[in-house]
């Protein structure tokens, strides 16, 4: 059946995807590439890039959710053809080698988008929980405990695998539509235009302005939220007597790295401190012991306190804990003795935040000459 052309329905390229939506889409592509590479392929110390990308992703997704309500017609969720009937019909059509061209998203595409957005929201929530609970950083650092963070780490990883699958489905769908059915979806997500016999104008210039304002507000709100919260910590540099007496021979270790029991044994056995006479006078010993016991591993809810600090070792050495060994197994023995490191117990050589006891993955920086 040939379409009947009249003055009003001559096929014309019309703007259906507003500029904010298109910018959202392609920014999302870049951010997901960044988070995927930093999350799956790179070493721990790229975590900050992953996190910053995550913060941008929070802005982008919050924007998309708001834009789904107040954006131009085809950007709004209420224009999505989500009914079960339409979905089944579209799937049947595709099976039979046909695909009806929709002005906005087609039903399968719309569902894929809803699922993608949902997974991304869950990834952001779990990501923030890990960042706060495990790494003691970000806006949730003081609210989320270590165990909650750890649990969410597994969920975050599972969700990212699902996301990869959904992205594969999304790209496959676009390729089928573009190559097989000749619907230029990629081009229209760039130019915003589709050719239709429909005179309805849905995108107005003010949409770009509104979109910009909404995004800016979200970004500022997030910036504020991220920056009001800083993790509680004690810096061992604040205790000068500990820093001075123990620091004469080795980097003083954060009190959260050993149990009260181990600290007690270490402090009563200073005359033979790993083969060294590290004797102190009674007053100094008492002061340092008190400081260590008051801040032992059970007081802190950090990754290092849970995985290393709370485990007693016979030698009292933290380097004898399973977790420490697992985390350092890629570092060659001889690398610990290079001049910038000195020995295994010089945590500060690689962990920039060792003095605060946080030991965030993001704060690892290997000195020159050491390769993971």
């Amino acid at each position: 059946m040939l379409p009947i052309y009249s003055k009003n329905n001559i096929p014309k390229a019309k703007l259906i995807w507003d500029l904010p939506l298109r910018l959202f889409h392609w920014s999302l592509v870049i951010i997901i590439i960044v988070t995927t590479i930093t999350g799956y392929l790179l070493e721990y110390w790229w975590l900050y890039i992953h996190i910053y990308a995550g913060y941008i992703l929070i802005c982008l997704l919050s924007f998309r959710l708001i834009w789904g309500v107040i954006g131009s017609y085809y950007s709004r969720f209420d224009s999505f053809p989500l009914s079960r009937l339409m979905l089944i019909k579209h799937l049947k059509n595709i099976y039979n080698g046909k695909s009806k061209q929709y002005t906005g998203h087609n039903p399968v595409g719309a569902w894929v988008i809803i699922i993608l957005l949902s997974i991304l929201i869950l990834l952001l929530i779990t990501g923030l929980l890990v960042w706060g609970g495990v790494e003691n950083n970000g806006p949730l650092a003081n609210i989320i405990g270590y165990q909650t963070g750890l649990l969410n780490k597994d969920i975050h990883e599972a969700l990212s695998a699902i996301l990869m699958g959904m992205i594969a489905i999304h790209i496959m769908g676009i390729l089928i539509e573009t190559i097989y059915f000749k619907h230029p979806l990629i081009k229209s997500m760039i130019t915003g235009k589709k050719t239709f016999r429909n005179n309805k104008i849905t995108v107005m210039p003010y949409h770009s302005l509104y979109g910009g304002i909404v995004f800016l507000c979200i970004a500022l709100a997030l910036f504020y939220w991220v920056n009001i919260s800083t993790a509680k910590s004690i810096d061992i540099k604040a205790n000068s007597i500990y820093q001075q007496e123990c620091g004469d021979c080795h980097t003083p270790h954060h009190p959260s790295l050993r149990t009260a029991e181990n600290w007690q044994s270490i402090m009563t056995g200073l005359t033979n401190h790993y083969g060294e006479n590290a004797n102190l006078n009674a007053a100094t010993t008492a002061k340092i012991t008190q400081y260590l016991l008051q801040n032992n591993a059970n007081i802190f809810d950090t990754k290092a306190a849970h995985e290393i600090g709370r485990n007693n070792t016979i030698t009292m050495r933290m380097t004898d804990t399973k977790y420490w060994q697992k985390k350092h197994k890629k570092i060659k023995t001889e690398d610990f003795s290079i001049s910038t490191v000195g020995s295994k117990i010089n945590c500060n050589a690689c962990h920039n935040d060792a003095d605060t006891g946080h030991f965030s993955s993001a704060e690892i920086k290997l000195p020159q000459g050491i390769k993971p």
Binding site: G247, C249, H250, E276, N277, N279, S337, S343, N346
Partner: protein, 135 residues
């Protein structure tokens, strides 16, 4: 007794021309040495050097000599067994080294026991600092 003390203190600057920075600690060691060893004639740079370089091997296995941690020359940077650097012992490089008596005593107490298996005599300590002063 008081007269003797005054005489001793007044002749020390002549027998030990030590710079002002170390005079108090070395004076105290010298005074103590005179008390403990009546035939004490003053500290010796040479004895201090021999003591510093000698492989005593009488204390803990890991630390047979001063040089185990401080290095072969007082002018070089040392390293603790834990890998932390130790500032050079020579006064010319570390002028603040022997200013705090409590700290000096703490380290003599620890290290003499580690290296010699006993406390150092006041003469050994005085010779040591006199040697470091010459460096």
């Amino acid at each position: 007794m008081k007269k003797l003390l005054i005489t001793m203190i007044s002749i020390f600057p002549l027998t030990l021309p030590a710079p002002i920075w170390a005079s108090s600690l070395l004076d105290q060691y010298a005074y103590q040495a005179k008390q403990e060893f009546p035939d004490f004639k003053g500290f010796s740079t040479k004895d201090g050097e021999v003591f510093f370089l000698k492989n005593h091997n009488m204390g803990k296995i890991a630390t047979p000599a001063c040089t185990s941690c401080h290095g072969e020359s007082p002018k070089q940077i040392g390293s603790t067994r834990a890998g932390k650097t130790i500032a050079p012992l020579a006064i010319s490089i570390s002028p603040q080294r022997y200013m705090d008596k409590a700290k000096v005593e703490k380290w003599f107490n620890r290290n003499c026991n580690s290296i010699l298996g006993r406390a150092c005599t006041v003469i050994e300590k005085g010779n040591f600092i006199t040697f470091m002063q010459s460096q």
